[in-house]
Amino acid sequence: MAEQSTHAKAAEDGAGYWAANVRIIVISLIIWALVSFGFGILLRPLLSGFAVGGTDLGFWFAQQGSILVFLALIFFYAWRMNRLDREYGVEED
């Protein structure tokens, strides 16, 4: 009995961990797409009012801004996942 419930709990934790991970991934990828495909390309006309050094904000996102956001996203994810690993007790020794 006891063994079975531990086993069930582990499986439940595993599922919870994975669901939390997928949620973080989805949010990160929405930001990823927004700054590159969004601000950098498709939504550029909407940002044309914001002047940046001789051009507009969309140009800046396409050539530099998106790269800076990508960097922030990866480090955020690594930090967040290491915390999540510990919350669910699935970290490496």
């Binding site: 595993g14 961990y17 994975w18 991970n21 997928v22 991934i25 990160s28 990828l29 990823w32 590159s36 495909f37 950098g40 390309i41 498709l42 550029r44 940046v52 050094g53 001789g54 051009t55 507009d56 140009f59 800046w60 396409a62 050539q63 530099q64 998106s66 790269i67 800076l68 990508f70 960097l71 996203l73 990866i74 480090f75 994810y77 690594a78 996942m81 290491n82 690993d85 007790g89 699935v90 970290e91 490496e92 020794d93």
Partner: protein, 599 residues
Amino acid sequence: MDQFTLNLLFVGASFALYIGIAVWARAGSTSEFYAAGRGVHPVTNGMATAADWMSAASFISMAGLIAFTGYDNSSFLMGWTGGYVLLALLLAPYLRKFGKFTVSEFIGDRFYSPTARMVAVICLIVASTTYVIGQMTGVGVAFGRFLEISNTAGLLIGACVVFAYAVFGGMKGVTYTQVAQYVVLIMAYTIPAVFISLQLTGTPIPALGLFSETTATGGEGSVYLLTKLDQIVTDLGFASYTEAHKDNLNMVLFTLSLMIGTAGLPHVIMRFFTVPKVSDARWSAGWALVFIALLYLTAPAVGAMARLNITNLMWPNGTGGDAVAVQTIETAPEYDWMLTWQKTGLLDWEDKNGDGLIQYYNDGSDAMAEKAAANGWEGNELTNFNRDILVLANPEIANLPGWVIGLVAAGGLAAALSTAAGLLLAISSAVSHDLLKGQLTPNMSEKAELMSARIAMAVAIGVATFLGLNPPGFAAQTVALAFGLAAASIFPALMMGIFSKRVNNVGAVAGMLSGLIFTLVYIFLHKGWLFIAGTNSFPDTVDGSLFGIQSTAIGAIGAIINFGVAYGVSMMTKDTPQEIKDLVESVRIPAGAGTAVDH
């Protein structure tokens, strides 16, 4: 000391450094040959990944493509960095947890099928070989310039050097030499950019200089560099630099294709097998992007500033005055670079109307036709300006000191060599480890395996050199095709292998094959069969192409087909067995990741 000797000195010294390190850390066993004993710190690994990643395409070719196109080629910048987000979030930690040596081993085990593994190996070989063709184009440009010989001779000499280099190395040598290569190449890229940024804008950081005011306006007071650039290029009938001229669909698909491809190329993924822990794999991707971003944030500044400098050199009296005289080009020291590059056959000019001046303008523009007729111009007289020479010629164009030019030559060669070596290694491990040892002759000895790895390298470089003589595009464009192929074949299989328990053996094989074949055929229809010029059925332009999508952007569609077919076929066939579901469960959780094992 003349420039040629100085270049030789810089290139020679950097090579002595790489070879010294390679000898010091020589690969011994087969496992070291492939994955460097897994003892590599995330920062070190990030730096080595960056060197591996930033090839002739990033270093030599990309800024030139941006310079002559402007905003539309931002796809390269977003695509080749955004892929790291996919890699870090969707693949790297899980593949590290799985703990085998190669990408195809994962696909073979997860889809419990030797056929799937075989198909993955074929996909890897096709994508990597295409990639090496692009590298060889860059190698030809770099060697041609620094030995001051024709592009073709440079390519042949370069091929021999790359081969010797890859055979000598092995991954362990490669990991530490690549750290050294990274240092050389990032200095070579940024130092001239800093000088040029100071000259043009007074800002020492090129990435900021791009959006600053320029002082080089010929007495018009200061305006933004990009405003000035837009003005002079449109004066000459070229498309404006900062506006969009490409349709959104192609730009989005091209960017997406490069992103997905980044996360599907074996030589980059292999790097994440070499970190000690799963959490390190997540950090490694971040560090790799830090080191890559140093170059990628500088590249758009290099492109824009070089375009401004070149245009000013061709029109020393402003776009409204007289063009540069032929005699000036032949005698004035600041035009020396044009004579040097003419020797490679990648730069040329011709005084078509015999007025003793070289008019550089867009002779395809209707607006310019009138002006040309009024001034007696008979076409653009800067007849050839190969995009791939821009970065290497950049310090000479800006009249920088000789040691900077030598440094750039060393950096360009480091970029081309490191990636070519990494790719050759990936190809050779695919053939010897996966194809021969894994499938055809499992009882092969270690010695025979190493030998077959080297033969595979020789064949790959032979093919790449042959096609590199007549490349399907500029270095970065050819490389973009390789990314499309990787995007359409490998990435979807890896991602579904981790994120779905339902996708089975039949589905994965059908998905990879349909993605690869669709993309490859589409590319061949537009670029020529086996990239042989003239055998294409459609012109490679947006309007002329089969589906209104350029061949460089088709990989994203191939990936969607791969996902769709794999899922559809899996739903119609048998569910995955329980042990595969357990395998997927275990890959998803970091706990229990031991050191990786060979089988």
